[in-house]
Amino acid sequence: MADLINLIENWLEKLMLGWGASQELSLFILQAIGSVLVVIICFAIVIALIWVERKLAGRIQDRFGPNRAGPFGIFQSFADIIKIFTKEYITPEGAEKGFYNVAPVLAIASVLAIWAVFPFAVNVLGADIHVGVLYIVAVGAFGILAILMAGWSSNNRYSLLGASRSVAMLISYEIPMVVSLLVPVLLAHSMKLSDIISAQQPWWNLIVAPLAALVFLISSMAEIGKAPFDLLEAESELVAGYHTEYSGMKFGMFYVAEFLHQYTVGALITIFFLGGWGGPLAVQWPILGFIYFHFKTFVVYLVISWIRLSLPRIRIDAMLNLNWKFLIPVSFINLVAVAIADRVMLEFSVARWIYVGIMFGLNIFILLVSLFLAGKASPEVERETFPANRPVAVPPGTESK
């Protein structure tokens, strides 16, 4: 029971070898089954997540959320799936047919490809390559390509504007994301995901490198492209941004890709900063590691949802300022400081708990100093003054009674 996944795998392998299949063929079939399973589990999780997300959004915005289909509206997502499958596909006139149809597939593939390298438990690994971290960063590029494809091929100005904004945002936020990912790599002395997880077994990176975790959380929230960074599909400005012209399941694929991306970011934070599958008895009982992994991912997912449901959309200049004038310098300073501290403490071979304590203090110190400097550097916000006779519902400055 403890090692259910490997038990089934071994049984299947023996079964296939017994049927006369060669070693390579059975390995190939097992890997194919594994990858299909990961994809199916991802989609099943997304169906549940959409319901959770809508229920949570309802609670936060002081309403009920879905409450008609089934108890607590659990079957709302299934009703939506049936609706979205039976909707008509509309291709706008003048659209580039090929690109228009490939874009949603590419969008969802770019997110699913990240899951190929995830270690789910101590002995349930995806492709455990030496360059796991780099792979995750590289595959993200296809998501940007898909957005550009969708925006351009729709033959719609709003779509094109959304796509152009996405490039300004996604590419610039990739820099602090990658630099903050270098901190766990540096601490584990490896780019292999399984090494990064085993390196942070008693002490999670959230404690050793809290600043990198914070920068990664903010910049990967921008990478998801949802509120407060939803400039690329701002309803009030761009209709729906790059997927304005999509309908039916093609829109559904973008929608699922977005939800799955948020869950994937949760998984990335779990792997890099929350110890991955680690937890009590996770090594002896790999199935527990699987549960811990998804539980932590789900918690991070809820935190991201909570942030994005509480904050209004950030203005485009403020978005770029936050990135270029705050996140990038802070993440670089953090990387250099952590590298030096790590090297010096390894030279003196200090005890593990002192190491962790100094790292934590250093991170908090850098964060406080940079927040102080940012506060000093930014000028006092001058509110726009309105003429006294400007017809507004509630003139600025009046107290609400």
């Binding site: 690109f99 390559i129 030496h130 360059v131 780099l134 792979y135 960063v137 590289a138 595959v139 993200g140 590029a141 296809f142 940007i144 390509l145 550009l148 494809m149 351009w152 094109l160 796509a163 152009s164 490039v167 590419i171 990739e174 780019m191």
Partner: protein, 170 residues
Amino acid sequence: MVPVLVFAAISLVTLGGAIAVVTNKNILHSAYFLVLAFVGVASVYVLLEAPFIAVIQVLIYIGAIAILIIFAIMLTRRLMSKDMEERNQQWIWAALGALLLFGVLGWLVYNANWPVIEAAVPKEPITLMGEELLSTYVVPFEIASVLLLAALVGSILIGREKDQESRSAE
């Protein structure tokens, strides 16, 4: 047998993509076919058991260069019009030059004495590479960094100058 088939399929995709880049009428389609060709090259690196170079190929050529090209095309209005000619009068000279280059490169590749190392690939090639880059090859590494920095500063300078000119003109 299987690796040969896989290699053949990858080569077909790479070469097909590369041919489509130069023959396509729409320049944006060409850019996306270029991405396809890059993916093919990255797959060849994977077949050669060089995952690091494969991932770097995807990261730099697709994640940075291809997106930059696509974005530049999208922002240039004239390039996107349907009646854009993909050739001008000089195509024959360009074709001759390309053929000549192909011939020279082909001759070189065919006749070069490729060194073969009998030892197996080390287990942690990235670690080794990093150490070599920061010890034996530290000077070229630093010179490359300075070159990149100079390019970065230069591009910022060009961008700023234009901005100020347009502002003073207003």
